[in-house]
Symmetry: D2
Subunit: 366 residues, 4 copies
């Protein structure tokens, strides 16, 4: 793990680079096992799910996000060497950002980057732009391939569970990826999905923004994955999720609701299902003592409303004068539909890295 | 950061060791700056806050947890070399654990350790015991000393904000450590603290257990601390908190409530306070883009009810037979009072490590 | 530091990627301090020193090695974000390598990559090609800029000290970069340089290859840089040098000659030079207990003769049959002239990383 | 890998702690695979080989170095949790060191520690004392057990190959551990061993010191171990060796002699031995492109004469005055006999860590 924060993972290690404006952005994956089949299309498919301009409820910026694999793959298979993937930056409209050069946008990273580095690329958010997540999503596509190779039953499903005050009803145990992708808000509850879309459109028209909750469930992993103590599976998932822009909270299994339960309700009794040890309930969220128990791993992530809104807001200038600012440009009124593949990618990175860590001490040799 | 999960931090690096039974437990801190004044008493004071048997609402196990500094401190000051601190194990009652050798306790780590390692120390939870946190608390005491040396206004206050359904009213901006320590449940709201204590006693008498929420606020740090992208301050805090036994959730600043707010409400406007850039509100929780903005950093952690209860519960044996189990021994009906110093220690470890990381690229030279 | 070996350094962290054939090669630098002035030309100048085809005694392959900065630099200064630099692959002649697909070249990495990964890119050596060092040299150019910013007297001079049995006479204390660059073999001893060039040409014409020794001296660093115990400055320099293709040995200061000296000869007495503590001799090579003492840091690196020769050699096929093989293509009869900037780059990476590590615990604040 | 230098390894990670005086010294091993059989005696045996006072040619200080296993082992087997081993400090004679508090010993780390940290434990060398290697040797004993478990033919033999100008004749391919241990200088050439012992005694009586070369050979590992690029097996071995106090050089396989060979002599032709790919010669030292090829891995380490001698030497005081100093106390006239188990331990740590890294990406699953 790096000192400076642009690398994630211990064995399956992902380093992203790039600002929203400049030559380009991308990712280098070190520690990818060899002989994993992977194609450009596998990666591009995931990038397209994250891409701006994909539907009427996302930003209308046109970014093709065409990926190029620079290294690490030969005749359709990973070599065991670093997989480098780059995406060129296009569609720059620096004039959209001219005002930002001199003023700090409220609840953005403009001021904190300035405080930290004494310099910042003020074009479009620079390194703090959500565009940085392109590299994460590309790496996540590779991680999912690795996990499917080692665990044939592996499956990960991520979806919007709540937009503002609209809460979807979803059967977490049975929901499938195809249910997620059948509407533009990526919520498997068809009725609530419609209401969510209407609300996002309304808020966008008002120049405002809203947040919500994304839920993710991973199935088909073995028991025994995860490291006790500091690198518990839930700890690394929490870190992964809170590293995504605009997130404010994380809960695994019973989450904050557990605080109002009694031990006698909360405990998950073990029981034999044929020759397999299972739990009767799953308040643990598939993880006990930081290690997977073979049940579904599920967790929830809170997203705040995006900071960029059309309203005039109070702020200060970089020369320390009180001022005002209103956003221009084309922005997401709600990041959740496009954040679904990001949450999924980060979860895949955590699970893939932990699976390889488990193998390192003999975990798959039993 | 280690591959195997018993080390935390990048520059101020903490490695804990030890099982609940066996020779002893402890911690090695590498990367501690030299010439920081620290005494045995500074460390022992924190260990005593975590110690079992400290009040009527904690487990009645008697563990003195007397710390011994083995290295790294000379004539009352750190040398810049590893600070090793050990605590001997005492008061073993292996007979309390005989049944556990053959049966997996529900919602404990017994089964997952067995699945992972094919071996476990079944005496008292082994490495999964909360006793492991002794090393964290000792290291946190050192981290707080370092932070106070570099940031004289640094202050961290951690307290119980909720027990089961009892929610305390606390002014997060003004609450002080002395308010916390004036009752045994470590809740600064005196009235609710009394109700919390009664509830814990009642639940204990019923043989059951309950959870709650701990809140932590850190004041007096500079703007600019934290690494963008993967090692955002909130990401590392989330990881730190979810690495504590019995935690199920984390939220920073507005947290899950942010999911129901609009951007126009949620944004924190900047304004000049004299020559200092401040925000009018603090929904961000003191962190923007992963970097501190100079406001109070605050977050909340959800704890589930402890898994060890006196009830007869369904489980399975290690030879894969359905069975039943009831806990014996002396256990905490609610971990929150003793978890307060653990949350505080982990927060201090994150903040100290990030402060040093910031210095590495010149952060204190401005 | 990574689990999988394509990253170097702890704070100033360099990750290289790319095979000799395929999309391209490059490097991502994380942890570069902000506001360091750096231009494309600064980097290109170093790449040109490493470039094939630069003189009559190197391989005649034409690789332009034109670098492109993708991120991390804005208006001529580093941002504190990852600096990504890529070089496209060109001039592929896959027909040169067709035979290698089926046969393991003696003393190359063909067989060991196959043994490790079960797959390899057999075009031109793939990841094991010395072409990988392009990324190191680019990163080294940045590291030298950082060191010069923090230590204005910093200077690093690297040169060929021996080719085969021709040993140059060089005053290590006074030699300058301009002395090195005035001939194509990069040896500051003009007379011996001529003999070296003749020998390399002769060996090339015979289809054979030769090795030699490169020496490096770094001046102008403060005392106090380097970490005791495992990450001693000399330990990290040794690792850096032995990570360069074709190296077989490393010695610092008195090196292997120290084994035949007595302590009374070898010790470097301290003496005051004005207000500065200096040593009368420098058998230590500028490092004591793993930490710089302010004297010149110097070391030597042994390079073997390149494995690729025109002779027919015994080998085996990938289907485990005895066979024979003779190299085709355009190869270096002696790698040392082009290895000088690589040794220098790796030394700069080690020194820069250690300088920042020293700052992290307060080293520049005194 | 740590930022601050007291940890070694990526998966099998070793952190040492302790000064030569103070509570004690020791080691924490994280990432040790579970279910490895190991006893106190396995560790104590190695510590006894390193122990002062073991023969007439080592220092006569009496240190028992009795190890205590604090954690990580249960009923004779590793748990997969951190193995902590501590050794108490005894036999302190602070009066031996009183002069050192005020004067920097030539070619010791006194001055550089002071320059780095602004504080030092001047009793007996503090952290820079060779006593720190107790932790390395203890960890090496565990690493050898792990390697023997995974590779039943694994064998490592380390011996003194040269003392000052006395060079032993040893058949590197056949020499065994029992040949090493049959004399006190640990040189398998019986005739030269006698001369070495006489020379060490003579030099000791003169109050002077001498150095030499230790050679190490590891047999029985599979092909495929080692990471290409920065973490080449020879790079990590070089780092490991140069991290040992008093070392000045490292060479693998043909080493510095390779600089005077031609490619046609140096290349190791492949040939089939039954179904196994072997090399006819082994100038590579068992490593090609940073990865083991299944042949014996061998390397050599240069040790300088110890800095502590009985002669009056020029030096300076900590208050920057020219002065003189002569060592008191009981010191090694030649460190090599006691350094043999240290070299062996460090080699085992490198090989064990790389073996586990190889397993992490599937290396043992083929």
């Amino acid at each position: 793990m790096p000192a400076m924060g642009n690398t994630f993972g211990h064995i399956f290690r992902v380093t992203t680079f790039g600002e929203s404006h400049g030559g380009g952005i991308g990712v280098v994956i070190d520690g990818c096992p060899p002989r994993i089949a992977i194609s450009d299309a596998d990666i591009q498919r995931e990038l397209d799910r994250r891409r701006p301009g994909q539907s009427k409820i996302t930003t209308q910026r046109k970014e093709e996000d065409q990926c190029e694999i620079l290294s690490g793959i030969f005749e359709g298979k990973t070599l065991g060497t670093p997989v480098a993937i780059a995406v060129r930056n296009k569609d720059a409209r620096p004039e959209d950002y001219s005002e930002i050069a001199a003023k700090f946008r409220p609840s953005h990273a403009d001021y904190t980057y300035e405080a930290k580095y004494g310099i910042r690329n003020w074009q479009g958010g620079g390194r703090a732009s959500a565009r940085e997540t392109v590299g994460r999503v590309a790496a996540g596509a590779v991680a999912k391939k690795v996990l499917s190779t080692f665990y044939p039953d592996f499956e990960i499903v991520t979806y919007v569970a709540q937009i503002h005050d609209i809460v979807a009803k979803i059967n977490r145990s049975t929901v499938k990826m195809k249910d997620v992708e059948k509407n533009i808000v990526r919520c498997p509850d068809v009725a609530e999905a419609k209401r969510m879309i209407s609300l996002i459109e309304q808020v966008r028209d008002e120049g405002d923004s809203i947040g919500g909750v994304i839920e993710c469930v991973a199935r088909g992993l073995a028991a025994g994955i995860g490291e006790p103590v500091f690198d518990k599976l839930e700890a690394d998932l929490a870190k992964a999720m809170l590293s995504i822009p605009a997130t404010k909270g994380f809960e695994i299994g019973s989450g904050f609701e557990a605080t109002r339960m009694r031990g006698s309700q909360h405990n998950d009794p073990f029981e034999m299902h044929g020759k397999k040890i299972r739990t009767a309930t799953n308040n643990s969220g598939g993880v006990q003592g930081g290690i997977s128990n073979g049940e579904d791993i599920y967790f929830r992530v809170a997203f705040k409303p995006p900071a960029t809104i059309a309203f005039q807001q109070k702020t200060v200038t970089s020369s320390k004068q009180d001022s005002e600012l209103a956003a221009r440009g084309r922005h997401d009124p709600c990041v959740l539909p496009r954040a679904v593949p990001i949450v999924e990618a980060m979860a895949a990175l955590v699970l893939c890295d932990h699976a390889l860590r488990h193998h390192a001490i003999g975990g798959r040799l039993e």
